[in-house]
Symmetry: none
Subunit: 162 residues, 2 copies
DNA sequence: TTTTTCTTGACCAAAACTGACCTTAAGGTT
DNA sequence: AACCTTAAGGTCAGTTTTGGTCAAGAAAAA
């Protein structure tokens, strides 16, 4: 529990403050300073970012090297995560056929969980994965469906956090 | 907080003014004057242009040496579909490294071509493809980059057409 | 015991900035 | 014209300042 990474994670979360509702808040860090203040090597910070502040969890991380470099963590809001997450596993099964895909995306769109543009992006990504699995890796339709299902689950999870 | 380059970048952006809707606006500079007014060497201006006013960010830079020399920065707009498609192919190369991915998505986000949520979806989809290519199919980093590049191209093309 | 997560340090990459040296254009001089 | 001078801007390599990556070992969890 009280390992360094979790401590640093907690510290960064405190930096975000308690403004739970704001749609999109962000925090700036200096890698070297942060590492120094926790008495660890700088790459430890990268580890924390890589393992805790991922897009899959609703965060975007940007950075700049060189003089006045920085690390910026963007959090895309944070509300009734539980509810929305619950839907995701309900809605997306183990494997997704082409027809499932359309039906599910239509349903998500209807329910207002995604808008038209988001639906388009997801659709294109899933179809590309399907096509690649067929033409490049010669996968069975079922396996391709499994891949699409996990990709969709990931996207929806990250969206649920966002 | 900010470095010189970013300050100069901001200044130039102010020169463009807020006429967001004029199809193709441009700005003229004298390199030496600008450098003098920011108290830096002239080549600093070239650095700012090279790093901030790139085609990827939607700009073209022209210049003329000699007496009455100048630097002209043109802000491009992509009104018709062909231009947008061409721009997509322009900025997404053959293969994408993890850093290319972040840079391109950040640039598209900055320019308002995608919003934070859309960026998150794309990011998660690309990362999933990358991870799958690595852990499931044991692909080389380059090949994984190729896959991500084509996936991103498809997504952006579909958005350009929409 | 096996697997996953954490931690570290050596090495790498990129951004910012500077200054010495190069190229090009305009306009005057011969 | 041909040449020279002056007034731009361009390039490049070196330095400094950050952050990034990766692999190996330690610690914790399963």
């Amino acid at each position: 529990m009280s390992n360094l990474s979790s401590t640093i994670e907690r510290y960064i979360n405190e930096l975000f403050g308690s403004e739970v509702e704001s749609g999109k808040s962000s925090v700036f860090l200096r890698r070297k300073e942060l590492a120094a203040s926790f008495g660890c090597v700088p790459s430890q910070i990268n580890y924390v970012l890589r393992s805790r502040f991922t897009p899959e969890k609703g965060y975007l991380v940007e950075s700049q090297r060189g003089g006045h470099g920085f690390i910026r963590i963007v959090r895309l809001s944070y509300e009734n995560i539980e509810d929305r997450l619950k839907h995701v596993d309900d809605i997306v099964g183990e494997s997704l056929s082409g027809q499932d895909r359309e039906k599910i995306l239509a349903a998500l769109h209807d329910r207002g969980l995604i808008n038209a543009k988001e639906r388009l992006i997801i659709e294109v990504a899933l179809r590309y994965a399907d096509e690649l699995g067929r033409s490049e890796f010669d996968l069975s339709p079922y396996k391709r469906g499994v891949i699409q299902a996990s990709m969709l689950r990931r996207i929806l999870r990250s969206l649920a956090l966002a």
